[in-house]
Amino acid sequence: MKNEFQVIADLIEKDKKVLDVGCADGTLMKFLKDNKNIHIRGLEISKEKVQECIAKGLTVIEGNAEKDLKQFPNKSFDYVVLSQTLQAFLNPELVLDELLRVGKKAIVTIPNFGYWKVRFHLLFKGTMPITKTLPDEWYNTPNLHMCTIKDFFHFVKSKDIKIFKSLALNDLNSSIINESNLGVKNLFANLGIFLIEK
């Protein structure tokens, strides 16, 4: 399981109720279910991925987060997880609001467009950056609203969303992001993980 999922799992206490939005093949869900006795549910747009989840015995709903989150009642989950998908929505702000309405807390991870390799790629090659977390070409990427850790940090603050924990992840390790080290983390992390609440 990828490092990101391990970090997310560490943020969630045992026995909680969790919704994984864009749960893909259910890797994180399965881990949470088996290791932390989490009451886990998934929402996934891809039919193939939904089938993979069913084959793992996971409860998953085929659907689109931009349309289908509204059916869940307020604060019906302890945590709602959204991994590296926020930037792919037509309206990420709306989705973020929905995550925070449905979940008591939300865990959102974003691929960091401020990562030094991304910056260098654009600066020196002059073409759209391709990295491990951003593997697609400009013409076939699902990403519509790329942002940096710094952008997201400021964005949630401006919306009066409380940040409980923010972590910077690179290939090797994770570290705490705070107001004072934001610039550095924004340069050296390829992923940001935010535990937030409204």
Binding site: Q51, I54, T59, V60, I61, G63
Partner: protein, 371 residues
């Protein structure tokens, strides 16, 4: 129990009050079982059949000598694996494969015809509930069915919220739409317009409204297929002829196909049962009792739901299946949902659609492992 014509029958002695106000008692429910009930009695699956189905789910139907209606899904090593599970299915009341219906005789030994009480989906499941007592099953492992079978699934878990561990409604709706009612009315009108229908007394007058029933079946059959599926299978292909004949014979293969479907249906189905069962479907509106709030229908159950729809099903489209998912989500129920890609229309659930069958199998087997 009697085994007349290979039909197993349970006589229900307990009176059953029907939605129409009448009470029936000492009435037969015809059923069939597949696989065996384990000692813990925790492996039973109650399957509900659709409009023209019956209790003979799989294998050779001993009455029609044709394959059972859900042979693709039910049997040894199939999605509903009868090596593992004990499958029970019964003919709905109002039906014509041995359960109490309009072709039965009233206490005065006259065939009921249209004097049979109008029954509902609620009445059907209340009648079938007696099978649990008969087999000494406290809790089913699963209930499932497609189309009208799915309506019975929803009604069953609403009426008996702790009687099944898992719940699988397929290609169904919680409330019959105007379009659904319209198609059913078309079928009923075709039957009653047949001069051989004789106000429903055709048996005693030794006739049969076969033409009307065949037309009803033909119209309904179109609703079970998709436009694309029909086009791919038949297109404008001609039936055993080089060119158009400028007449009203079946020039096109699709005409011939529908006529065939109509004619074989008449051999195995009772016209009055068709009226009664379509009426039951039309009256189905699960949320009505709960002032339109469908969630209330499921508020008392902890069962695990898995809802399945098909992309090309325009009779019970994905949205109507999703409305059930939404109602369940809004009360925090355990519900999964998948829409299966298929060109085969509403009939997809009866056919060899591998994604559907594997989803069904995986859901059942994984849920059973957690037992």
């Amino acid at each position: 129990m009697n085994t007349e014509k290979n039909i197993k029958t349970l006589i229900v002695n307990k009176p059953l009050k029907l939605d129409c106000g009448k009470t029936i008692k000492d009435f037969p429910i015809a059923y069939e079982t597949y696989g065996s009930l384990n000692s813990k009695k925790d492996n039973a699956i109650l399957v509900f059949h659709a409009l023209t189905g019956d209790q003979f789910v799989t294998g050779i139907n001993p009455v029609t000598n044709k394959e059972g209606w859900w042979s693709y899904a039910v049997g040894p090593d199939k999605a509903i694996d009868t090596n593992k599970y004990f499958v029970i299915c019964s003919n709905v009341i109002g039906g014509c494969m041995g359960s109490y219906g309009p072709s039965h005789k009233d206490p005065d030994q006259k065939i009921f015809g249209t004097n049979f009480p109008v029954i509902t989906i609620n009445d059907m499941v209340n009648a079938q509930y007696n099978l649990l007592d008969h087999f000494g099953i406290d809790k089913l492992f699963s209930i499932t069915g497609g189309s009208m079978g799915g309506m019975q699934v929803l009604q069953f878990i609403s009426n008996f919220p702790d009687k099944s561990k898992t719940v699988i409604p397929i290609a169904t709706t919680s409330s019959h739409s105007a379009q659904n009612i319209a198609f059913n009315e078309l079928g009923r009108q075709a039957i009653t317009a047949d001069s051989n229908w004789k106000d429903g007394n055709y048996t005693s007058k030794d006739t049969n409204p076969g033409k009307g029933l065949a037309v009803a079946r033909m119209a309904a059959h179109i609703t079970y297929l998709s436009k694309k599926g029909l086009q791919e299978k038949f297109g404008r292909k001609l039936q055993e002829r080089e060119d158009l004949k400028f007449g009203f014979d079946a020039d096109f293969q699709i005409e011939s196909y529908l006529r065939y479907q109509g004619s074989v249906f008449v051999d195995r189905f009772d016209a009055n049962s068709y009226l009664y069962i379509t009426r039951a479907m039309d009256y189905f509106d699960l949320a009505k009792k709960f002032n339109g709030n469908l969630s209330e229908a499921f508020i008392n159950t902890n069962a695990k739901f898995f809802i399945i729809s098909f992309t090309s099903d325009w009779l019970y489209p994905t949205q109507e299946n999703k409305d059930i998912v939404i109602a369940l989500n809004s009360i925090g129920a355990d519900v999964g949902f998948v829409e299966i890609e298929s060109d085969k229309g509403h009939d997809s659930f009866l056919l060899d659609v591998p994604d559907f069958l594997s989803a069904l199998k995986n859901f059942l087997d994984k849920s059973y492992e957690e037992n």
